[in-house]
């Protein structure tokens, strides 16, 4: 792609989009957002990056292989469900932690961990597909 504007803007755009995607992920419990949407936004950031900077640059930027990221995400999501077993609840019952210094936080929980897993799966899987398509030329 030979758009000078896009090429120049890409590094800023991508950084911001990734940041935004994490913001969307974390706010999801109370306002529109969540792991799935956040993941899609994150994936679109990497898609932009791949189109403008090439596959090798994306691979460097992601550090880990995208499929591994997706796999780790799935693992985290599964693990967050196991936690409840330790407390005697059924598999995937949400567990909450209300720290004494912030009793009204209502945020630290296995549910959020699960959402992070979803985010990683979506980012990893979609980026893997995009990179695969780019490379197959």
């Amino acid at each position: 792609m030979n758009s000078l504007i896009l090429k120049t803007a890409t590094p800023f755009l991508v950084g911001l989009t990734v940041l935004f995607s994490i913001y969307v992920l974390l706010r999801g419990h109370n306002v529109p957002g969540g792991g799935f949407i956040g993941g899609l936004i994150g994936a679109s950031a990497f898609a932009t990056y791949t189109i403008n900077e090439g596959v090798a640059a994306t691979r460097r930027a992601m550090v880990f292989h995208p499929v591994s990221i997706a796999g780790v995400g799935l693992f985290i999501a599964g693990l967050s469900g196991v936690a409840s077993l330790l407390f005697g609840d059924a598999f995937m019952t949400g567990q909450w932690w209300f720290p004494s210094f912030a009793p009204d936080l209502k945020y630290l929980s296995t549910v959020v961990l699960f959402d992070i897993g979803v985010y990683l799966v979506v980012v990893g899987a979609i980026v893997a597909i995009i990179i695969g398509l780019e490379e197959s030329t």
Partner: protein
């Protein structure tokens, strides 16, 4: 304790290969200790059971479905358990000697022990599901054992055939058992079978009966399913001696005997069992005399004996059940002994062909003694238990159920069995010594201990008929009959009809024996080329596989376009058929009073849809689809579904990116022109789907929505899950398991796309790619890499 008894063989099975490596030649003796101990363990129940008591054990398994690991010892299960563990002891010994030089002996013993555990579980099970589980385990272990010589194609075929036939019957049995449990209101056989009238008068009685009989008949090789048993003789002889004479094939007979108090006694039960049993009895006996391979002859007589047992259970009178149990006991002893003796002959001489064997008595005196004793018991001569059993068979046939016909069948069958028994037991050992591949020699004690003991037991059981009748056969009859009847076995019944029938049988048997060679060759000439169920099985499998192949070729064309066409056709049918079926649609169509810009969004969506249909360039089509999707996202946004809108927008964006990459990077047609006929067809299908969805949505919005779920989640989202975004709370908390499944699919899809691309890369390497990178080229110029690649 009972549970431990059933599970012990499985535990030992795991260690069998290790024991073999460590213990070497002592393996058999060591491993045989367990079945020997089990025999003693079960023997201690004889006292309780023969005085009318039972022993039960139950531990919860799946309590919600009232499935328990429950076991139950009465006369019938005890007789079976003793035969399984007792004969099993000698089989383990025998196998360790017989296969001493085989590299996989450890594995073989493992399978044998697993089978032993399965069989014990089967006959002791009280819960119907427990029974079924062990029933299938015997099918699976039998498959492993028949296919033990897995390098031989014949062996593999026989193993698969046995699994298909008995496994298929097992499925029918499961349905039958569950229906029966439902009809009788209990999962426990011991309770279920006490309410026999409830079962017999139940509207599902016929279905239960047919399904249970399918299970029993396939397992016990009743005609027309008898073909798998002779084929199973591909297995090493210890397997034939254990599974295919004394134990597994009797599981079907066991089942019939077990359910007799519940399902038996009706006219259809009698007719079906007597008819199938009698036919099987004759087929088996005739095929036995036709064969010349020792093992095959024995296998066919086993088929015959199983037929006789089914026949006797079908007759159902007290004396018939006594005959069945006595014969079952006698048969296990003499058939196990004969099989092992035949194996020893094979082991010692290198052949099982009866025409090539004679005069081995000098070289193999112990085997001869065992074979002779067992054969005399089988032929039904006094004072063996086999004689008593046959006398009782004749007593049973003289009831009021077609007496003449079935007595005739019994005489003919028994005479054939008499001839075959003497052929197998004496022909190889008498006369002038023949030339054999190996120099005939007696094997070690492992080889002769089993046959000698079993054959001797057949004699002792006949002599001490008071003990065998009172302690083993009698209690078994009580269990089958469902009540305590007095059983009194004896050798000398006076000059009455059974004795004369026995004499007639012996006379006819001697004639058959004298002409056996001629009969065998006549039968071979007549029947060998005829169509039989064995060939039918092949034809059935060929038909099944052929059909599957044809259907698969039709459905799985490998063309994405075709798959989409079929999918959309089905979607259209699902949407429109209910409408057509129900006739009038309750639709009130109204244009909601909304802001004017909604019409702008609608126009955007229409423009997108229109240009998808009109433009031939695929890239433009994809972009237009994005436009359409964004319009839909806007609708979501305006009608207060921000989450959906958000997601839709991102999905549309990424779809366009990915599809554009596919178009730009992969060698496919850049243009999509399908010619008028196909264009018309595709538009009709697309139109149908569109109309269907429109009607569906209109009919949904025309009625009041059931908001119960929405209210439920709205009420609990914050109080129980501390989240105000209901959609997200449902996704990650209320329905987290669903989401977990979905993200697993996402990962799998990602991996699948990568591997497809990797494969495509390989096959495309030589094909080159589309030279033209311009997005919109003429229809025919970009065909280099066709869609097939």
């Amino acid at each position: 304790m009972l549970l431990a008894g059933v599970l012990a063989p499985f535990v030992l099975a795991v260690f069998a290969p290790t024991v073999k490596r460590v213990a070497g030649p002592a393996t058999g003796w060591l491993l045989a200790l367990l079945p020997a101990a089990l025999t003693v363990y079960f023997a201690q129940f004889i006292g309780t059971v023969s005085s009318g008591g039972t022993i039960t054990f139950s531990t919860p398994w799946v309590s919600d479905l009232s499935i328990h690991l429950s076991f139950y010892v009465d006369g019938l299960s005890l007789l079976f358990a003793l035969l399984i563990s007792g004969i099993g002891t000698f089989i383990v010994l025998y196998a360790a000697t017989y296969l001493a030089k085989h590299a996989d002996l450890g594995r073989f013993l493992m399978f044998i022990l697993m089978f032993m555990g399965s069989m014990l579980g089967l006959v002791l099970a009280d819960n119907v599901v427990t029974l079924f589980v062990f029933w299938e385990l015997t099918s699976i272990t039998s498959f492993l054992l028949i296919g033990f010589n897995h390098a031989s194609p014949r062996s593999r075929r026989a193993a698969l055939q046995a699994l298909v036939v008995t496994g298929g019957g097992g499925l029918a049995l499961l349905a039958g058992l569950l229906l029966m449990a439902q009809a009788g209101g209990s999962m426990e056989l011991s309770t279920l079978l006490q309410s026999g009238d409830l079962l017999r008068d139940h509207p599902h009685y016929l279905a239960i009966l047919i399904l249970v009989l399918m299970g029993a008949f396939t397992k016990s090789a009743q005609a027309p399913f008898h073909f798998w048993l002779p084929n199973a003789m591909e297995a090493p002889t210890p397997v034939s001696a254990y599974l295919h004479s004394a134990t597994m094939v009797k599981a079907g007979v066991y089942l019939l005997a077990r359910v007799n108090p519940g399902l038996g006694g009706t006219e259809i039960w009698q007719t079906v069992l007597v008819a199938f049993g009698a036919v099987t009895f004759l087929i088996g006996a005739v095929l036995a005399i036709r064969n010349t391979d020792l093992k095959l002859m024995l296998a066919q007589t086993t088929v015959a004996s199983l037929g006789l047992l089914v026949f006797l259970i079908g007759l159902g009178e007290e004396v018939a059940l006594e005959a069945a149990m006595a014969y079952l006991f006698a048969h296990s002893l003499f058939k196990g002994a004969l099989f092992m003796a035949a194996g020893s002959v094979d082991h010692g001489t290198g052949t099982r062909e009866i025409t090539r064997l004679s005069g081995l008595g000098k070289a193999m005196p112990i085997t001869f003694a065992a074979a002779a004793l067992a054969a005399v018991s089988m032929s039904g001569l006094p004072p063996f238990i086999g004689f008593i059993a046959k006398e009782w068979v004749y007593k049973a046939t003289m009831g009021d159920f077609w007496p003449l016909a079935i007595t005739g069948v019994a005489i003919l069958g028994n005479a054939l069995m008499f001839a075959v028994a003497l052929l197998v037991g004496f022909k190889p050992f008498l006369g002038r010594q023949s030339e054999t591949p190996k120099h005939p020699h007696e094997g070690g004690p492992g080889l002769w201990l089993g046959p000698v003991t079993l054959a001797a037991l057949g004699l002792l059981a006949g002599l001490f008929n008071g003990l065998s009748g009172g302690l083993l056969v009698g209690p078994a009859v009580w269990a089958v009959a469902g009540e305590q009847v007095s059983v009194d076995l004896y050798l000398w019944g006076g000059f009455k009809t059974p004795l004369f029938l026995s004499l007639a049988t012996i006379a006819l048997g001697i004639v058959l024996l004298w002409r056996s060679r001629a009969i065998s060759s006549t039968l071979a000439a007549t029947f060998d080329r005829m169509w039989g169920p064995d060939r039918g099985y092949d034809q059935f499998l060929d038909l099944l596989i052929g059909t599957a192949r044809t259907v698969t070729a039709r459905l799985q064309t490998g063309t994405l376009r075709h798959y989409l066409l079929v999918t959309m056709l089905i979607v259209a049918a699902v949407l429109l058929l209910p409408v057509a079926q129900m006739g009038d649609l309750d639709i009130t169509f109204r244009i909601p009073a909304t802001d004017f810009y909604i019409f702008g969004i609608a126009a955007l969506a229409l423009a997108g849809g229109f240009s998808i249909a009109v433009f031939r360039s695929r890239l433009i089509a994809i972009l237009s689809m994005g436009v359409l999707g964004v319009a839909v996202a806007l609708v979501f946004l305006l009608f207060s579904a921000p989450d959906l809108a958000f997601t839709q927008l991102m999905v549309e964006t990424l779809s366009v990116v990915i599809l554009a990459l596919v178009i730009a990077r992969l060698p496919i047609y850049r243009s999509d022109w399908r010619g008028w006929p196909r264009a018309v067809r595709d538009s009709i299908i697309a139109g149908a789907v569109g109309v269907g969805f429109t009607l569906l949505l209109l009919s949904i919005t025309s009625r009041t929505l059931d908001l119960a779920l929405s209210e439920y989640f709205a009420a609990r989202s914050y109080t129980e899950a501390y989240g105000r975004n209901i959609v997200n709370v449902i996704l990650v908390d209320f329905r987290a398991l669903d989401t977990f499944g979905e993200i697993a699919v996402v990962v799998i899809a990602g991996v699948a796309v990568l591997s497809l691309l990797a494969m495509g890369g390989r096959s495309l390497a030589g094909a080159g790619r589309a030279p033209d990178s311009a997005p919109d080229s003429a229809p025919d110029s970009a065909v280099t890499g066709k869609e097939t690649s």
